[in-house]
Symmetry: C2
Subunit: 158 residues, 2 copies
């Protein structure tokens, strides 16, 4: 099962290493991780997406709470949430192909952020499924390179 943890941590060296160690020591692969400062620069928020079973994830949650640099752990797995991810993707495209790519960009509400004679770079945001679908569609045009931020989440308001 997929678990999503939103973790507030002290913004200082070594915290990320200790947290990622906690997961890898149990053989769990973090499938998505984002780290960014909050409005308080001494505190960062990590969003961790990881596959695992319930029993061990409960243990991981307890261990996270015990770490001195961890301020707060919220398990977003079963809460209503807003989830977004950002994709930058550079696709092979000569002048002829370009209009097809632009059409796809419009459908996915992606922005064109760079163009050259041989390629187009798009920026897209959305939930994981949407980003996956866009990448799948663009595979037909040969992808030069892509970078995904991983998923950021906030709980929905009641």
């Amino acid at each position: 099962m997929e678990y999503i943890f939103s973790v507030l941590v002290e913004n200082k060296p070594g915290v990320l290493a200790r947290i990622s160690q906690l997961f890898s020591a149990r053989g769990y692969n973090i499938t998505s991780l984002t780290v960014g400062e909050t409005d308080d620069p001494t505190i960062s928020r990590m969003t961790i997406v990881v596959d695992g079973d319930e029993k061990i994830m409960d243990q991981v949650k307890k261990q996270l709470n015990k770490l001195i640099d961890v301020v707060k752990v919220v398990d977003l797995t079963s809460l209503p949430q807003i989830e977004r991810e950002l994709l930058l993707i550079k696709v092979n495209a000569d002048k002829k192909m370009r209009s097809e790519i632009i059409e796809i960009a419009e459908i996915f509400r992606a922005k064109i952020v760079d163009v050259s004679d041989s390629d187009v770079t798009l920026e897209a945001t959305g939930q994981k499924d949407k980003i996956d679908a866009l990448i799948k569609l663009l595979k037909g045009y040969k992808i030069k390179e892509l970078a995904r931020t991983g998923r950021s989440c906030l709980p929905r308001s009641e």
Copy 2:
């Protein structure tokens, strides 16, 4: 000085722990980190932003290249690049305040992704400076919570 590394790694447990360990062992704080799968699901791309001096960053780069799970390291620091970050931010707003927040959202081309009686949640993308400016402006309305993905980068085409 701020360094940006784009690192292609094997998508498996322990890789993130080894890489973050490499930085923290030298006392360097990773200020931004994003990890996401590429179009090849066995390979992930990490974008690491870190402050440090040139001499030690050269060493870190060499060490990264030596790690068995690291496929490729690109130092984007001095290359022309496209850099984007995603922000989710929930701001206090009653019905009266809401229109002010919506106005700010329009200026920053942010999307409104959730609304309740007492708050509004926005999604914004852009370079770090733009995101910082938006957060600064919204501080006047009391920020409930925010999540930043950290920065994703691709080199610009020539």
